[in-house]
Amino acid sequence: MKKIHIIGIILIAVALGVIVSTISSSSTYAPFSTAMEHEGKTYHVVGKLNLEKDFIYNPEQNANIFGFFLVDNEGREMKVLYNDSKPQDFEKSEQIVVIGKVVGNEFHVGQGGLLMKCPSKYNGNEAQQNMISSGT
């Protein structure tokens, strides 16, 4: 057996590891109902903001907690707590992706786990805008 074969085998093993880890560490897009069935497991939930309910943001007490109500694609609404400051222009976003997990009757989202889409910003290169608004 040549050295190059041994190295080849090692590399194939690493490559397989890469593929397996890519699949195993990825999350899944799901509605709130699935996230509630698996409390504590991380999901990506896509939804729209319920603008009729007030945002929860009291920076005097804590500038790093921002709460809002999100309606997912199945129409279920849930209170979402985001562990960061309130993103600028949040209320203008058309669609929101939150990355987090269900805890009790809330959906907890860590820092950077919120992506916003504003249609006006999504024209061509203008989409870069989103980077700003999401604060990630």
């Binding site: 490559a15 699949i23 500038a63 562990n83 309130k86 860590g110 910003k121 805008q129 990630t136």
Partner: protein, 810 residues
């Protein structure tokens, strides 16, 4: 019904469209003629002549398209949709210049333009390579021009045309005013360049990046030419300098993007493993691999297949990255993906065409590839370069697979999302690869091609190893690195720097002509070192420790509220928010950093930063951080949230809000918007004389302690007075906090009292939420980038010279 529209300059659009058609047809004709130029040796010269004329028509047309489109942009001819969409009359000239490539049509043109410039050198210097190389280049040009054709054939729209009229664009055609004869007068201005992109990086980053994109084509075209003409061993000699030119151009483009992100965007770093960033990093990694295996090939004739595969992969991955970023497929995973302009199908055909071309040519030439049974020795440079290439391939594969999740989702109908902590996920894979690469970079040059004497190698290398251990030990201690991965990368990066510096000094004896590789490798080492220290040891100094602790669930406390006039301590600084100022559409937040002089207990001005929020009702407000640069660190300051709603109302407001009444007993605490009011109890010790009270009158004080968010304590004693049977209260004003407190009544039954607290309107409003991060030693990173560019340029210069010398000898 025909309307005579007023004020339109339609002739330019007609010229533009004619030029696009000419450029497209010229490229196709040139491709065909060049093909016969090398296939038909008898008629070769006449075919080549036709090809050159056709390509000249193509080149002149491409450049003329630029001239016409720029003429329209600079003259604000808003009857053209592209001009209206991307530029405006109020933009400064450099952004009008840059607005050309804001849209996809412009960026495809920019790409084509660079191909024209680069291929000029092939035609001039290519010799016998010209015809076969130009076949591939012309085909690529034809594909790129088809992206801006904008014609509809059998209901399928090919490309989007930059000369489409505003009134004919599908987004506008339904608006009634667009069908009035004088509609142009009704258009005040164009939409202009996205405010976020109004940054000097927008002027230079896209051209350099597209030059990088364009330069991947040249080695690929040489590889294809090698296969087409049967010169499968010779092409690498010519392709090497072009490859390193491309590595430098693409690398510079990517690094400029990183610098832009760091400077102007607010994610707090220079690299976020965003799909769009990955899409251009991956071809760069494979390009580096391709360049290095070609060097092996020149030395000993092996690694020919890898040279073909990597060169092809690089070119295809550039197309794939264009597909990823422009097809809209990244949608939910990228923060800056593009919308679908309906070109997905065209991009896939473009990509598939060249995959098939490369695959087919390699297949029919499969027997011509030299078989090598000889194995590279363990002590040879080429063996370890080959290993390095394999590591690069695995690294590129990991990034590509992870970034392509949305593509797999589309194909297989799955709904796999990216990992929760994207940056951590990529880092955990890429750091080990970086460690191996740095170590290979370090010792690689000390190995000779073919074979090296073991003891000589170790003797030479041991100096670098010892020095690196000492330095990295010191650095690890100084910055308190504790994670094994980080310590290893720290050592590997320092080893790469030290060993290459040593090689440059001791082996090359400072001969600059040969030192390009060493300089570039030192640059790579410095980039990893700077990235490691500045990232792993970045320190968020705006941590809000007064927050209510929310437990493990919500660990992030990086944002802090700063009310106007307040001073908070952050690390070694004291920071004051001095107020905001609106200049044009920008709101500047003045944040003063103060140095504490603990001996005298005074604060001294250090510097002022002005992070900005640009108000833009149409495209959304954009906030831009401000960074103070020091030699050894950067202090990054970003306003993450500020109330922009009532910005236009008068700023200074001395009015007080309606008082709120609180019934409290001794020991109770009331919270206001900016402080806590603690009621200690009643007090009789009041200076009656000062109040002009007689002994019969009653006076009681409420002893209050008011603690603000800086933990500063204020004492206040509002009084409750009964003078000649008239009840009144003497309120206390705490100017600093904008609080008025009055003592309204005592309830004799339970000893409770009523306090009325009234706050200044300003208390509610004037605050910002900010984040401040120290990035230590980030200048190591930037100086590494600079060395990488300088070193690559040196190597390119040497290789082009060698090539010219060889040509003379032949």
């Amino acid at each position: 019904m025909n309307i005579e529209y007023i004020g339109e300059a339609l002739v330019f659009g007609k010229i533009g469209n004619l030029l696009i058609a000419l450029a497209f047809a010229g490229a196709l004709l040139a491709a065909i003629s060049y093909y016969f130029g090398y296939k038909d040796p008898l008629e070769s010269n006449s075919w080549k002549k036709i090809a050159r004329y056709a390509y000249l028509v193509h080149s002149v047309s491409v450049i003329s398209i630029f001239v016409v489109l720029y003429y329209l942009i600079f003259n604000h001819r808003f009857e053209y949709y592209y001009v209206w969409q991307h530029s405006s009359t109020t933009l400064p000239w450099q952004y009008i210049f840059a607005s050309f490539w804001e849209g996809q049509e412009g960026s495809f043109l920019l790409w084509t333009f660079w191909h024209v410039i680069l291929s000029f050198f092939i035609i001039k210097k290519g010799g016998t390579w010209e015809a076969p190389v130009m076949v591939t280049i012309c085909l690529v040009q034809a594909f790129l021009m088809s992206m801006v054709l904008g014609v509809t054939i059998f209901d399928y729209k090919i490309g989007t045309n930059p000369f489409v009229l505003l009134r004919e664009h599908p987004d506008m055609a339904n608006l009634p005013f667009i069908h009035m004869a004088d509609y142009l007068q009704k258009i005040d201005d164009g939409r202009g360049l996205n405010p976020l992109l109004q940054n000097y990086w927008m002027v230079i980053h896209p051209p350099v990046l597209f030059l990088g994109f364009a330069s991947t084509l040249i080695p690929f075209a040489f590889a294809m030419a090698g296969l087409m003409t049967g010169k499968i061993r010779e092409w690498t000699a010519v392709a090497i300098p072009w490859s390193f030119f491309g590595i430098m151009a693409l690398g510079t483009g990517i690094l400029m993007g990183a610098a832009w992100a760091y400077e102007a965007l607010s994610f707090g770093g220079f690299w976020a493993w965003d799909p769009v960033e990955n899409a251009s990093l991956v071809p760069w990694i494979t390009f580096v691999g391709a360049g290095h295996v070609m060097m092996i090939n020149r030395k000993n004739g092996s690694s020919l297949i890898s040279s073909f595969l990597l060169t092809t992969a690089t070119f295809i991955l550039i197309l794939y990255s264009t597909f990823l970023t422009r097809s809209g497929i990244l949608g939910e995973t990228s923060v800056h993906a593009f919308t679908d302009l309906g070109m997905t199908g065209q991009l896939i055909i473009y990509m598939a065409f060249f995959v098939v071309q490369a695959g087919y040519l390699m297949f029919i030439n499969r027997k011509a590839f030299p078989k090598s049974d000889k194995e590279d020795g363990l002590m040879s440079r080429e063996f370890w370069m080959f290993i390095g290439m394999l590591v690069l391939v695995v690294s590129a594969m990991q990034i590509t697979l992870s970034t392509s999740m949305p593509v797999f989702n589309k194909i297989f109908g799955t709904s796999v999302a990216p990992p929760e902590d994207v940056i951590g996920y990529y880092n955990s894979w890429q750091i080990p690869f970086a460690i191996i690469i740095c170590i290979l970079i370090g010792f690689g040059q000390f190995l000779k091609y073919k074979d090296t004497k073991q003891n000589e190698f170790w003797k030479k290398l041991s100096v670098s190893i010892i020095i690196s251990i000492i330095i990295s030990g010191f650095v690890a201690y100084y910055f308190q690195f504790d994670r094994v991965q980080y310590v290893l990368l720290l050592f590997a990066a320092i080893f790469a720097i030290v060993a290459n510096a040593d090689y440059g000094i001791r082996v090359l004896k400072g001969k600059m002509d040969h030192a390009g590789g060493s300089v570039a490798h030192i640059g790579i080492g410095l980039i990893f070192l700077g990235a490691l220290i500045s990232n792993a040891k970045s320190q968020v100094i705006s941590k809000n420790l007064l927050n209510i602790d929310l437990g493990k669930e919500f660990p992030n406390n990086e944002n802090i509220m700063l009310t106007k006039g307040d001073t908070l301590q952050m690390a070694n600084y004291f920071i004051t928010y001095k107020g905001k100022e609106k200049v044009g559409v920008n709101v500047y937040y003045e944040i003063e950093y103060l140095d504490a002089d603990f001996k005298n207990g005074t604060l001294k001005h250090a510097f002022t930063l002005k992070p900005t929020v640009q108000l833009n009702p149409r495209m959304g407000n954009v906030s831009e951080p401000a960074t103070k640069h020091f030699l050894s660190k950067d202090i990054y300051t970003h306003v993450t949230y500020a109330d922009l709603e009532d910005f236009d109302k008068p700023a200074a407001n001395d009015e007080f809000l309606e008082p709120k009444t609180h019934t409290v007993s001794a020991g109770d605490t009331i919270s206001t918007s900016n402080s806590l009011v603690y009621f200690e109890g009643l007090t009789q010790s009041v200076d009656r004389n000062a109040l002009g009270l007689s002994p019969e009158d009653i006076v009681v004080g409420a002893s209050l302690r008011v603690v603000d968010i800086n933990k500063k304590m204020h004492e206040a004693i509002p009084l409750f007075i009964i003078k000649e049977k008239v009840v009144f209260s003497k309120e206390v004003l705490i100017e600093e906090l904008g609080l008025k407190i009055s003592f309204l009544k005592i309830n004799p039954d339970n000893g409770k009292i009523d306090l009325a607290i009234s706050e200044k309107k300003d208390n509610k409003r004037e605050f910002i939420i900010m984040k401040a991060i120290i990035f230590p030693q980030i200048n190591i990173l930037w100086s590494g980038c600079l060395l990488l560019i300088i070193g690559s340029s040196m190597a390119i210069r040497k290789r082009f010279r060698d090539l010219a010398r060889q040509r003379k000898l032949n």
